[in-house]
């Protein structure tokens, strides 16, 4: 009997982690996040705070990075507190549906989105950026997104049009 306990425990633990990730992924697909500018990023970068919603009190930092890149491509962020807002990279509102297979892969496990985003040393949260609202947790993490490189990548993949195409 005792031989079964360890494998069962491992399966249970793994499935629990997997469920958490799936839930967070679902929240991202449903655009259950917010981003706001926290400063004028240095050349070619945006400095944003990615707010993530979760029923679990633990923060999925990878999900925070994914949300930030997703937000830069599809949502942009408004001006606030001396930070100039930015429009989304995708001007087409139904781009994610049109390029579904590309974005599934891009935001998938070990997707390329990770190349364009960096966290603080270990994803430290600023005081007051972890809020319990009802039964949910809203957590903000500051990330830096390399927008110039991201734009170039999306353009080269033919997902978005280059800036010069408009003229």
């Amino acid at each position: 009997m005792k031989h079964f306990i360890l494998p069962l425990f491992l399966i249970f633990t793994f499935s629990s982690f997997s469920q958490t990730r799936k839930k967070a992924n679902k929240d991202t697909r449903n655009w259950r996040y917010e981003i706001e500018g926290v400063g004028q990023g240095s050349m070619g970068t945006y400095l944003v705070k990615s707010w993530q919603y979760s029923k679990k009190p633990r923060i999925a930092l990878e999900q925070t990075k994914k949300n930030a890149v997703h937000g830069i491509i599809f949502k942009g962020y408004p001006s606030s507190k001396g930070v100039i807002g930015q429009p989304p990279l995708a001007r087409n509102p139904i781009l994610d549906e049109q390029q579904k297979s590309f974005f599934d892969q891009f935001f998938g496990k070990n997707g390329r989105y990770m190349q364009f985003v960096s966290l603080t040393t270990d994803g430290t949260i600023l005081p007051g950026d972890r809020i319990k609202i009802g039964r949910e947790y809203k957590v903000g993490v500051v990330v830096s997104v390399q927008v110039a490189a991201l734009r170039k990548y999306l353009e080269s993949a033919g997902v978005i049009k280059g800036l010069s195409n408009g003229f």
Partner: protein
């Protein structure tokens, strides 16, 4: 131009200041009230010249430290501080280098990350500088009395002599202890002092006025400079007292040192060092303690950067110390949008990291009670006095458990990881029909003594000293083992010697036994709320010694006699080994 941007952001960020920010180091200038007298002047000058960086770790010290008159107008002083913070030079030009330096030193690693990844690196530092301007303080120390230990002992000696003289005049007899001169153990100084902590009122309007009408830099036209210099010299900066202590005292003394078998008094050089260094440091240390405990702006707060092990990115730079207490809070937003902080746990600093040069390093904390904590929860410094009051109830009914109810006053936690405690207890219990044997008339000669057996009722008073450790069993630290060892003395008093042989009824000998026991036990404790915990403490008690004296004997010089436990009757012999069950309620302050 850069300065205009800085000041623009300064005003902008003031108006949009977020409700909760990171801990921002206050800026503090130290002044002393001018006083006549050699000691006062020496100490005031020392306070003005000594570096208190290691004592006042959590503040930026503004090196404007000068003795001032008691009626000084603090607006002038505040302007000196402003000139320092905005780096005013001999040409009356301001710049923001100094305040940005302070901001950079005070920034957290997240703020450094934002700053390093921003196009305008100074923007985040400007926000910190803004908050820093709201936390500019002037500390004024008022020395009230300084005297040497020699003067102190002389005063006590004169008092003793006067008291003895009075006693003799009234026909009384001076006790032996009062006949001895006051012992002079220490050489050094004692000081009574008070202090006031004023906060400079930097309002957005004041800042705007300062920027518009007083600020001068290289870009300011020559034609405007004279007027702006004039405006600055007429600027009225208000300040308010945020905390004051009227009576504090500090003493620094040194005992005689032994050299070549002889005791030698401290040299004049050593005495001077006490006056010019140790005493001013002691004054600042006491002042700092009071401020940190009572002024919220001086309490550290931060977030947990990781949990289990719990870590937060604060350390020596903020002046945190091992075993400092912090409460962890969760920010909750209600349906109407109002936010509040709810306490979730208690943490104690376990190891302090040196983060002077690297603000990404984190100190270690141990949770001691509360719910599960998560990354991002806020922690606030809530220093405790490390005093414990234990209300103990002994469940065992054996007569010589020494106490049924006892109160312990203890100190702790101290030490690393497992918290150490030490406590002093007093208690009382009653007993009935105690089988007790004593030797008639206090005759302790075993061959000739007449042994008398009595069954008295009475009570026992306990005095004990306990040493213990708390070993935390769970990661949240709610449940803990409490191995403890104590030494107790029980003073038994008989109220009714029922059953005494009629022959001894008029006996003037009243046996008054003292039982000494040691106890070893492992308790189990549970934190109900941060300040209250409950224990179950089973322990084994071993009676190790006993004395007996005559309670009716008023002569102080009569000596107690050592008695073996087995000589004192069946009940005491039987209770040589006790199993003691105690339930305790601890209140920690």
């Amino acid at each position: 131009m850069k300065y205009y941007i800085f000041l623009f952001f300064l005003i902008l960020s003031w108006s949009s200041k977020s409700q909760i920010s990171t801990y921002v180091r206050p800026c503090m200038s130290i002044s002393t009230i001018e006083k006549e007298g050699n000691f006062f002047q020496v100490i005031n000058n020392s306070i003005a010249t000594l570096n208190f960086k290691n004592t006042l770790k959590r503040v930026n010290i503004i090196p404007i430290k000068k003795p001032i008159a008691s009626d000084t107008i603090f607006s002038e002083y505040a302007k000196d501080i402003t000139s320092y913070l905005f780096n005013k030079d001999s040409n009356n030009l301001f710049n923001v280098r100094k305040i940005l330096e302070f901001s950079e030193y005070a920034s957290s690693d997240v703020q450094s990350f934002i700053s390093n990844n921003s196009a305008d690196k100074d923007q985040i530092l400007t926000q910190i500088a803004t908050e820093m301007l709201g936390k500019v303080y002037i500390l004024t120390i008022d020395l009230k009395k300084v005297e040497t230990y020699k003067d102190y002992y002389d005063r006590k000696e004169a008092k003793r002599k006067a008291r003895n003289e009075r006693t003799r005049k009234l026909g009384g007899e001076v006790s032996e202890s009062n006949q001895k001169p006051i012992e002079r153990k220490l050489y050094g100084y004692l000081c009574d002092f008070g202090f006031k902590l004023r906060q400079v009122n930097w309002t957005p309007e004041m800042l705007n006025y300062f920027y518009t009408n007083c600020w001068i830099d290289e870009n300011t036209p020559e034609s405007e400079r004279v007027k702006k210099i004039d405006n600055f010299s007429n600027l009225q900066l208000s300040s308010k007292v945020v905390w004051e202590e009227l009576q504090l005292d500090v003493s620094v003394g040194k005992s005689k040192s032994k050299r070549n078998g002889r005791f030698i008094e401290p040299t004049q050089e050593q005495m001077n060092k006490i006056l010019t260094s140790s005493l001013p440091l002691g004054i600042i240390n006491q002042t700092n303690k009071s401020i940190v405990q009572n002024v919220p702006e001086f309490k550290i707060f931060n977030v947990l950067s990781s949990t289990y092990p719990c870590k937060s990115k604060i350390g020596t730079k903020e002046g945190i110390r091992n075993n400092d207490r912090y409460f962890a809070y969760e920010k909750i937003q209600k349906r109407d949008g109002e936010t509040l902080l709810r306490r979730k746990g208690v943490l104690y600093v376990n190891s302090v990291v040196n983060n002077e040069k690297d603000n990404s390093l984190a100190s270690n904390f141990l949770q001691r009670g509360g719910r599960s904590l998560y990354n991002g929860m806020m922690i606030y410094e809530e220093l405790d006095k490390k005093i414990n009051f234990d209300f103990n109830y002994n469940l065992s009914t054996a007569p010589l458990n020494l106490s049924s109810y006892s109160l312990s006053i203890g100190f702790g936690p101290f030490g690393k990881r497992s918290a150490a405690y030490v406590g002093l207890s007093i208690g009382a219990s009653t007993f009935q029909d105690l089988n007790y044997v004593y030797n008639y008339g206090g005759n302790y000669d075993a061959d000739t003594a007449t042994r008398v057996t009595i069954s008295p009722d009475g009570y026992s008073l306990l005095v004990g000293l306990e040493f213990a450790r708390a070993i935390y069993l769970t990661k949240r630290g709610n449940l803990f083992l409490y191995p403890n060892f104590s030494v107790n003395a029980g003073f038994l008093s008989f109220s009714n010697k029922d059953g005494e042989d009629q022959d001894f009824e008029d006996e003037e000998y009243e046996p008054s036994p003292v039982i000494v026991d040691t106890r070893f036990g492992i308790g189990l404790g549970f934190h109900i709320v941060p300040s209250v915990s409950i224990f179950y403490k089973p322990s084994i008690g071993v009676n190790i010694a006993a004395w007996e004296s005559n309670a009716n004997d008023d002569d102080d010089e009569s000596e107690s006699e050592f008695r073996t436990i087995s000589e004192m009757g069946e009940d005491i012999k039987r209770s040589r080994f006790n199993f003691i069950n105690t339930i305790s309620l601890r209140i920690h302050i």
